[in-house]
Each structure stands twice: as structure tokens, then as C-alpha cells.
């Protein structure tokens, strides 16, 4: 459903959006407004003042249960971000608790260097308390925000909040709970995703987007508002897929390690390895706890199996110990494969229908949580969209024949998956907005895939249909924080069949060309960190490319090895002055990245601080005339057939890729622009289907994932 967003005060025109921008769920408006304003919608300094008080009256943050897996990770995550603003982080735990904070130090050193790590650790104040009386030192530190990470016992949590509220009226409290709704806890929820030191995703439960949630966004974290329901989305997916595997084990005797491999092949996650990696003792309890409460609320589809009940008590690993590495393999017939698929997808589809029925989150959030936090190759919403409404219903009904107790109206909502035609379903990764003059296409996925390609085409179609001739292509400033290139799992079929490779290289390139061909002005705006591989190929198809300074730009394909397939071997050469060709070829042949600032004039057009980059992008996109670098559409002469002085390739396969990339660059540049696509597509597809690619990282991933 196309939406019209409210006009910002002083803004010229209301913004029309293909579907609701995910930023808007935080009260942060549209992406187009970021460009129109020339500034991000939330400023960390202002929000730190709002949450912790102004300098001079600055309070502290408290993390209770700080030595636990979640508490320690989140202490580091917040301390490293709040330290520049002079906000101390109090790590509170029982006396004698294992030193979880200390164990974080090596990771901090690796990320920030010793000096930086020491600075961050100096910002962490470690205090002990007995669970009933807060330490005197805390009184003097003016706590303003408590992040509670204590064990999942409702009464204990409530008592804990009471102590803090009594001592510090008005304190903001968020629980990291994996299962209890905010309504049960009496506080807001900020449920983080594993691994806690580095994962930026937080499921947020609040009545209205708060300053705390906006501060998290401004600090570079990714808060995703979700509904106030048991176990939130991540744990329904994480625990749900584990439960599906457990039920298949009960039905088939298949060992967990093998179920893991088959689930990974089907969807991406290794549910049992994940529990062991997190720490089976804690993870099994949390999974049991979530499922136990979900079963109490929604019924049998969530009921923990006997095996899980036992393991939440014993903490036994799911994988056998090293000296009993699996010995007997399990192969499935086609019929058994179908049964396996039903046991796994059936409950997941059913659980997702429940979450859709409850309107738990923006569909893009629901989808992304599976991908970014639970290892799904494609989010569960995208998987269901692929299957289509009839197939989803058929799978769930087949599952109910295997597990009749799960067929309950309290947890299966076929109506919620009946119609997938809305933009909310159809645009999980790519959105479009415009103000009648300039459009913006936002990519909410860090890697380019068939889904992104299809959604990008629909977004461009919509803008064209809306009469938009000027477009900015950029990230979504929310879920996606970088652009890492193609999703190489989409190459798997191409390893076996050159036709599948051609579909990618022709199809994705044709999409990229639309940015050059169908708009009067297109600006690729790279908002930071890195833009690599296929994403960089996509962006350079825009008439102008702007990047935040310090962004790394590169084509690491040679190391995989693959030949860049979205015209990376000739398009940049056609837009660059001849004296820059060796640098472009060096990038392609070594995989080494350059910083945005160093790439101005030959690969991109502008690099600067965020606000300058935003302003420059808007200027290029909205100005009457812009001067884009010329795209040579004839055959290029003088493209080198060999490049000397390169460092030695790290493998024979990379050496072969270098030769193939150089040949492709030469051949595709040596014909007209109109002819080049076919040349590039063919050579890239043939390399994908060849032995050198099969022997490299993509081939290894393919073997490991799909040949099980």
C-alpha cells in the first residue's frame, strides 16, 4: 500500500512511500527527509543529554547481571559507545560472580587497540550487590538508565525493578528478557541478539518510540520495534526452528548434528550448533523457557519436547563430544526429504502466521531478524513469499497431519498469509520514496540477491510510474549499515549450470543499467563503512556516486574467485579517465579496496563527512543540471592486456581469476556499451561454472552447505 507521510515542518512537499520506511517505526521519518534536511534524524549528543542529563548533571547507565553472557557483551557495547560522551557504565552483579567483564577485554583490545580498550574499561565501574540492597557508591552516580540482564525469573526481575524505582524515581528501565512481555515485566524491553559483543540488533518493546531507542540508533545500534508478545520475534524463530528440529528428531531418530546440516541446507541456521556455541546450559534453558511460555499462551505447536526438558536441566551439548565425532551418515530419499521439509517449515510457517496475525513488527523487521540474528539465508517472510500462500497453507496442513496436536486455532492463522501482494510483503528489502521531484531507493539488505534484484526493479517501476526522473540509491539508514556485495549463496546454482550464471549476470546487470538509462539523474549514495563487489557495481551505474569519507570501496571477487558479473569489468573503465584505468584494473585484479576519498574523480564523484555527503547527494539529485562523468559508449582502446607489478596471487584459482578478469575487462571494453553486457555476462557466468570457482570459497561454501 502506497503511503503519504506527514510533511515535516518547513519541508516543501509530503513524501510518498512505496511502503512505510523502517526508520519511521522509530519515529525517525523517511530517508528522503534525511537528504532534504542534510542531516541524520537523531543526534547522539542531544539524545545523551536527554537520557543521561546534560554535562555537569550527567548520570550513569547501570547494567545488572553484568557478568553474564548478555550483560558482559552489552556492557562492552554500551561502554565503547557512551565513553566519548562521558557517561559511566556501572556493571552490577553479585559478589563472586565469574568475571564476565574481564573476559571481554581481549576483544576490546582487538577492536579498539590497547589504549582504546583501557579507556573504555576505565569507563566501566564494577559494583557488587546482594540482590536486595543497592551499593552506596551507586547512589552517588545518579543512575538514569538501567539495562537489566538478570536471570529469567519473573518475580526476581520485578523485585529488582522495584528496588531501582524506589531508589531512583524516574529511571528508565529496559529488560533484555528473551521471553517475558513488557506487560508482564512492567518495564520496556530491549532484547539483544547474539553474539552480544558485536550484534547491533535489538528488539525493542515500547508504547511509543522513546529517546532511549533513538539514542541506541544514534549510537550505531539497530533497534527494531516489535510487539509486546511472548518471546518476541527472534526467539520465536530461534527457538521455533530448534523445536522443529527436535520434533523431526523424535520422528526419525536423526541425530541433531545431521538435522543441523539439513536445516542449514534448507534455510541457513544451525539451530543446535548455535545452542552449543552460545553455551548449551544457558541457551537450552532460555529456549525451553521461551517455548514453555509460548506453549502456555498459544498451544502445542510450541510445546518443548522431552529431550529439551531434560537438557535444560543438564546443559548437555547437542553435538557429540570431539572423540565421538559423527560416524554414521544419514541420507534421505526424495520422500524423506519432503517429510523433513514439512517437519521444519510447517511449524515455522505456522508460528510466523501467528506473528503476522499479531502484527508483531514491520514485515521488513520480521524478515531481517531471521537473517541478521538467526542465520537465515533468506528471512522467513521472504521464504513464505517465495512459497506463495497456497504452498504455505499446504505445508502447514501437511505438518498437522504429522503432528495433529499442533493444529490449533490459537496458533495457526491462514488468513494472515492469504494475501502477499501488498508492498509490505513485496518490498521486504527495498523501499522507494519520493516527493514528486526526487525519489530515493533504499536498500535494506547488505548483500545483493535475487530478492533484492526483484524488489529493486519493482521500486524503480514504481518511481517511473510516479513520474520520477531523479533518483538516489542508498542504504536504508537502519537495518543495513554497509554494502557488502552479492549474496554468494545465490551463485550455488550457477556453479552447476552456466545458464543459471547467465541469468544472474544478465539479469542483475540489466537492473543496474536501469539506473543509468531510465532516469534523468541518478545518484548512488554510499552511507559508510564499505561498499564492495556487486553493490559497488550497482552504485557505479548511477550517473553520480557520493560516499561518506573513509568508506572502503573494492571488488574482492578475485579472491573468491569469481569474475565481477554486474559489468564491473568494463563499466568503471568507461566512466574513468584513461590514466585511472590501471588503478581500476589493480582493484579488480588484487581485490584491494580504496578509501572513498582516494577514489574521487575516477571511481566516485564526491567523498566527505556524512552531512556534507548528504547535502552533496541532494544537490546532485535535485539540481536542475548536474555534470556527471561521461560514460563512453563506444569501444575503448588501450585497455591493458596485462598489468605488471601486482603482488603474487594467493592461489592458482586466484591467478586464473586474474587472467579471466583481465580478459573480460579487455573484451567487454573493446566493444560498444550495447554489446558489452553480453560479453561480460557470458565470461562471468562461464567462470562461475568452471573448476576454479568451484575450488574456491564459493565452491567450498556450496559443498559445505548444499552437498549434505
Amino acid at each position: 500500500m502506497v503511503k503519504t507521510m506527514k510533511k515535516e515542518s518547513g519541508a516543501a512537499t509530503a513524501v510518498r512511500t512505496l511502503r512505510q520506511p523502517t526508520l519511521d517505526t522509530l519515529g525517525l521519518g523517511t530517508v528522503l527527509d534525511i537528504f532534504r534536511r542534510g542531516a541524520l534524524p537523531a543526534d547522539p549528543s542531544t539524545l545523551v543529554d536527554e537520557v543521561f542529563g546534560p554535562p555537569g548533571e550527567r548520570g550513569c547507565m547501570v547494567i545488572s547481571g553484568a557478568n553474564g553472557i548478555v550483560g558482559a557483551g552489552k556492557t562492552m557495547q554500551f561502554a565503547s559507545r557512551l565513553q566519548p560522551y562521558g557517561v559511566p557504565v556501572v556493571a552490577l552483579d553479585f559478589p563472586g560472580a565469574p568475571d564476565g567483564i574481564g573476559m571481554q577485554y581481549p576483544g576490546l583490545v582487538a577492536a579498539f587497540g590497547k589504549e582504546g580498550a583501557d579507556r573504555i574499561m576505565a569507563d566501566v565501574v564494577r559494583l557488587a550487590y546482594d540482590g536486595r540492597t543497592l551499593p552506596d557508591e551507586l547512589m552517588a552516580m545518579n543512575p538514569r538508565f538501567l539495562l537489566e540482564a538478570i536471570p529469567e525469573i519473573l518475580e526476581v526481575k520485578r523485585a529488582h525493578y522495584e528496588i531501582f524505582r524506589k531508589a531512583f524515581p524516574g529511571i528508565e528501565i529496559r529488560s533484555v528478557t528473551s521471553g517475558f512481555p513488557s506487560s508482564e515485566l512492567g518495564v520496556g524491553v530491549a532484547h539483544p541478539a547474539f553474539p552480544h559483543e558485536i550484534n547491533r540488533i535489538w528488539e525493542i518493546v515500547e508504547d511509543e518510540p522513546s529517546a532511549v531507542a533513538r539514542l541506541m540508533w544514534a549510537l550505531g545500534l539497530t533497534p527494531l520495534p516489535v510487539g509486546d508478545n511472548w518471546s518476541f520475534i527472534l526467539d520465536v524463530l530461534f527457538c521455533g526452528i530448534a523445536l522443529a528440529g527436535l520434533r523431526y528428531h523424535e520422528a526419525s531418530n536423526m541425530p541433531y548434528w545431521k538435522i543441523d546440516k539439513l536445516v542449514r541446507k534448507l534455510l541457513g541456521p544451525n539451530p543446535f550448533r548455535a545452542h552449543d556455541a552460545i553455551g548449551a546450559k544457558g541457551a537450552d534453558f532460555l529456549t525451553w523457557s521461551c517455548l514453555h511460555h509460548l506453549a502456555g499462551t498459544y498451544g502445542e505447536v510450541f510445546r518443548p519436547t522431552e529431550d529439551l526438558v531434560e537438557r535444560k536441566d543438564t546443559g548437555q551439548d547437542w553435538y557429540p563430544p570431539n572423540h565421538f565425532r559423527p560416524l554414521v551418515d544419514w541420507k534421505l530419499s526424495d520422500e524423506e526429504q519432503e517429510t523433513f521439509r514439512t517437519w521444519i517449515l510447517g511449524p515455522l510457517f505456522q508460528m510466523t502466521s501467528l506473528m503476522l496475525h499479531e502484527n508483531r513488527a514491520h514485515l521488513a523487521h520480521m524478515n531481517a531478524i531471521g537473517e541478521v540474528c538467526a542465520q537465515f539465508r533468506k528471512g522467513i517472510v521472504a521464504v513464505m513469499r517465495d512459497a506463495g500462500p497456497d504452498e504455505v497453507a499446504a505445508v502447514v496442513e501437511a505438518y498437522h497431519r504429522l503432528h495433529p496436536e499442533a493444529a490449533e486455532r490459537t496458533s495457526w492463522f491462514p488468513d494472515a498469509v492469504k494475501d502477499m501482494s501488498s508492498p509490505e510483503w513485496q518490498q521486504l528489502y527495498v523501499n522507494a520514496e519520493h516527493d514528486g521531484h526526487v525519489g530515493v531507493v533504499t536498500l535494506g539488505r547488505e548483500s545483493y540477491s535475487w530478492e533484492v534484484d526483484a524488489e529493486l526493479n519493482r521500486a524503480l517501476d514504481w518511481l517511473v510510474a510516479e513520474g520520477i526522473e531523479r533518483v538516489i540509491v542508498t542504504g536504508d539508514f537502519h537495518i543495513s549499515t554497509q554494502m557488502v556485495g552479492a549474496d554468494t549463496s545465490d551463485f550455488y546454482a550457477a556453479l552447476e549450470n552456466v545458464e543459471d550464471g547467465l541469468a544472474i549476470t544478465n539479469g542483475w546487470s540489466a537492473t543496474a543499467r536501469r539506473l543509468n538509462d531510465e532516469f534523468r539523474v541518478s545518484v548512488g549514495m554510499i552511507p559508510g563503512k564499505r561498499c564492495l563487489g556487486g553493490m559497488l557495481e550497482l552504485m557505479v551505474h548511477c550517473h553520480h556516486v557520493v560516499a561518506v569519507e573513509g568508506t572502503r570501496l573494492g571488488w574482492p571477487e578475485v579472491g573468491l574467485p569469481v569474475v565481477p558479473g554486474m559489468e564491473g569489468c568494463h563499466w568503471p573503465l568507461r566512466k574513468a579517465p584513461e590514466d585511472a584505468w590501471p588503478r581500476i584494473l589493480e582493484m579488480l585484479l588484487t581485490g584491494q579496496a580504496v578509501t572513498a576519498k582516494d577514489a574521487v574523480g575516477w571511481l566516485i564523484d564526491y567523498a566527505g563527512p556524512m552531512e556534507d555527503a548528504l547535502a552533496q547527494t541532494w544537490k546532485l539529485a535535485s539540481a536542475a543540471e548536474g555534470s556527471a562523468r561521461t560514460l563512453a559508449d563506444g569501444a575503448l582502446e588501450g585497455v591493458p592486456t596485462e598489468v605488471t607489478g601486482l603482488p603474487e596471487a594467493d592461489s592458482p584459482a586466484s591467478e586464473a581469476a586474474r587472467a579471466a578478469i583481465l580478459r573480460c575487462a579487455h573484451d567487454a571494453s573493446g566493444v560498444t556499451l550495447a554489446e558489452a553486457l553480453a560479453v561480460q555476462a557470458k565470461q562471468a557466468a562461464e567462470f562461475l561454472a568452471g573448476p576454479d570457482c568451484r575450488g574456491g570459497a564459493v565452491g567450498a561454501d556450496y559443498e559445505k552447505t548444499m552437498k549434505v
Partner: protein, 399 residues
């Protein structure tokens, strides 16, 4: 034809189809030479029962049977159960080649006692690279003896001082067994095996299993009784006699493998079997010990003892299957009972597919039960010899 009203364990059944065996590749020829056989057996049992539609969680107790020490055997059945993926208690039984039957009996006793409703019987052995035990032996001049578990034991019965093969020769001479007839037995046994294989009969018993190495890569597929080849009469006739009526073609070979089945209460048998209308129960069992170094006559003596006690004769039995490490065992059995050796061991036998000890009689039992089902039911007589000049026999009824 007479029948017996006796039932050794009246409340106990073997649910049809809840069984299976690995193939038995000859020693040192397959990936099984590389594995911890206890682990292999546990994981394979889960796989086999999964294929049979039996959730492993149904099993309440586990009897394992093996004869050759394996790594971590101290932990016996509980460890194998863990490898199976189901933490249940249990214990280990061992009686050389009688192990398979004794394990079924021990499992049946567990059910009959009311202690458990579903007991797994899981037998296995790896003769390949058998362990070498180092024993302080104060009375031996060496003071310490190293014994290769398989071959040094086959070669020396400490109670008699004779090798197994010598016992076969001594017994052959006692019964005036004929070399030519012994060769004919062996020839027929190979024919029977290959006919059963070609008919698809063995596919109902044997399950191909894929073995992984420590990196999780394929190490080998156990999908044949490797080492078993078609053999001609002329070849058998031309082989050198190692002792009376014993040649390389008329004796078995060492092999590796596992076999498993369930014994359950009557109610559970109906619940777990793919054909609940088939009723399988144990009628009786007997054991004898023959005179020193007369092991091949012991099975016939055990059969006679059993059938006498039941008031039956061999002619009352539909399926006879003998564990026959030597072809002369069948010749002697025929001389003892008057039964035509051409009518027994119809689907193959351990003479042909080898001798992994622990699971030998389990596989023989499974084959015998399947054969009886094909015949529409009847008595199944399973018997064989075991180290120490022991004979064991058990009678089952399939109806």
C-alpha cells in the same frame, strides 16, 4: 506335526520389522576397520530403527552384546545408548558366538520381569585390527603375554590346548564326515546366499550405512558383505585341506558388523510393528557343552535337548538356521538329527557372510524370522556353536 504350548517368556514379543543389521564386510576390507564399533553400532541402531519407523525414545533399556574389546567398553551399554542418541541404562552380555541369542534372551527377561516394556538388543563386533591385551602371567615363562584378541583366541582354547580348526577336524573324524559332502554343503550355502540376495530378501534385513571420517567426509559405504564371492565346486574341491574337511572355502572368515532388534511387551509389539498382526515369541532355549574339542557337534546336541524337552522334532520346524563357522557343522548336524542339510540355512549363513561373533546369531535370527513370515509362519530354530565346545539353540514361533 507336533507343537508346543510352552512359551519361555509369555509376556514378551519381538515386534515384526523392528530390526536390522549392517552388512558384514570381511575383516580389514571396509571402513569398519577404522571405527569405534560401539559408536558405530549405537548410531546405526538409531538409523535402522528410524528407517523402521520406531522412535528411539520408545526404548527404555538396552542390552548390548559384543565379544571383542572396543575403546571405552568399560562404559558398556550406557555409552552405546548415548551414541544412539538416547540416554538409557543397560548392560553388556558376552558369550562368544552365542552372544546374539543370549542378548535376546537377556532382553526378553527384562521385559518379562516387568521392568521395561521396550528393550533394545544391540550386538556388534569388529574383528579388524582387534585389540591386543597385555596380561601379566606369572606362571608363563614369558611372565607377560600379549594376546591378539581374535586370532590368538581362535588359535588356542586354554581349556583344551587346541585351536578351533582342530576341534572341527577332530569332530569331522568322529562323525566320519566326507570331504566331498562338506564341499557340497559349502557350495549350496553360497548358492543360497546369492539367491537370497538376488531375490531382494536380504534388503529387508540389511541396511546400507555410510561411514564418515573425523572430518565428516565419506569414509566408505557399508553396503555389501564384502569378501563374499561366487565359488565353484571345482574351486572347493581343489582347495588344500587344513584339517579334516576344513579348507579355506569350507570355513568362515572374520568380519565386522552390527545387528539390532527390539523385544517388547505384547502391547508395545503391536504399537511399534509395521505388521502388528504378526506375533513372534520365544518358545524355548537350551545349551549344552560337548566333550573337549568337539565343538561342531554341540549345536546338534543343544537342538536335540531343546526339542526333546518341548516334545518336538526337527520336522516340526519351518525354518532352521545354524551358525556354521565350518561347513562340517551342517554335515554333523544332519548325521545327528537325520535332517537334510539341503533344507536349512535357506537365505545364507555365517559360513558365507562371515563371523563377527557378537552380531552373528542376531542376524541369523532376523533372517530366520523374515523367512518364516514369508512362509506364513511356523517355528524358527536358531542354533550354533560357541567357544568352549558350547552349543546353543532357541526356538521361536511366528504366527
Amino acid at each position: 506335526m507336533s507343537t508346543s504350548d510352552r512359551t519361555l517368556f509369555p509376556a514378551t514379543r519381538i515386534p515384526y520389522g523392528t530390526w536390522g543389521s549392517s552388512y558384514f564386510p570381511a575383516w580389514q576390507t571396509s571402513a569398519l576397520a577404522e571405527v569405534n564399533i560401539g559408536q558405530f553400532a549405537g548410531e546405526s541402531a538409531a538409523r535402522i530403527l528410524g528407517l523402521r519407523g520406531v522412535p528411539i525414545n520408545e526404548m527404555e533399556y538396552l542390552i548390548i552384546g559384543s565379544t571383542i574389546p572396543w575403546h571405552w567398553k568399560f562404559w558398556t551399554a550406557p555409552l552405546v545408548a548415548s551414541c544412539m542418541g538416547h540416554r538409557i541404562p543397560g548392560y553388556h552380555v558376552e558369550q562368544a558366538c552365542a552372544t546374539g541369542l543370549q542378548a535376546v534372551l537377556a532382553g526378553s527377561a527384562e521385559v518379562e520381569s516387568g521392568a521395561n516394556d521396550v528393550v533394545g538388543v544391540l550386538t556388534f563386533d569388529r574383528t579388524s585390527d582387534s585389540p591386543v591385551g597385555v596380561f601379566p602371567e606369572r606362571r608363563a615363562h614369558e611372565r607377560t603375554q600379549a594376546i591378539a584378541d581374535v586370532w590368538d583366541n581362535f588359535g588356542f582354547d586354554p581349556a583344551t590346548g587346541n585351536a578351533m580348526i582342530t576341534a572341527a577336524g577332530i569332530t569331522a573324524r568322529k562323525y566320519k564326515a566326507d570331504r566331498s559332502e562338506t564341499d557340497d554343503v559349502a557350495f549350496l550355502r553360497y548358492q543360497q546366499y546369492f539367491e537370497a540376495k538376488e531375490s531382494g530378501f536380504l534388503d529387508r534385513v540389511l541396511v546400507p550405512l555410510d561411514v564418515l571420517n573425523v572430518q565428516g567426509k565419506p569414509l566408505g559405504r557399508i553396503d555389501s558383505d564384502k569378501g563374499v564371492r561366487q565359488i565353484t565346486r571345482a574351486t572347493l574341491r581343489g582347495q588344500r585341506e587344513l584339517d579334516t574337511c576344513v579348507t579355506s572355502g569350507t570355513q568362515t572368515h572374520a568380519s565386522d558388523g552390527m545387528a539390532t532388534l527390539l523385544v517388547t511387551s505384547e502391547g508395545k509389539a503391536k504399537e511399534l510393528s509395521s505388521r502388528p498382526e504378526i506375533d513372534i515369541r520365544l518358545v524355548g532355549k537350551a545349551e549344552v557343552r560337548a566333550h573337549p574339542s568337539l565343538m561342531p557337534e554341540a549345536p546338534g546336541l543343544a537342538v536335540k535337548k531343546l526339542l526333546d524337552r518341548l516334545g518336538m522334532t526337527v520336522n516340526d520346524v519351518a525354518v532352521l538356521k545354524n551358525h556354521n563357522p565350518f561347513a562340517v557343522n551342517d554335515v554333523i548336524f544332519a548325521k545327528q538329527t537325520g535332517y537334510d542339510w539341503r533344507k536349512m540355512n535357506n537365505t545364507g549363513c555365517s559360513l558365507v557372510w562371515g563371523h563377527p561373533q557378537g552380531p552373528t546369531l542376531t542376524r541369523i535370527l532376523i533372517e530366520g524370522l523374515e523367512e518364516a513370515v514369508d512362509l506364513g509362519g511356523g517355528y524358527v530354530l536358531i542354533f550354533g556353536c560357541a567357544a568352549g565346545d558350547v552349543g546353543i539353540a532357541a526356538l521361536f514361533k511366528v504366527s
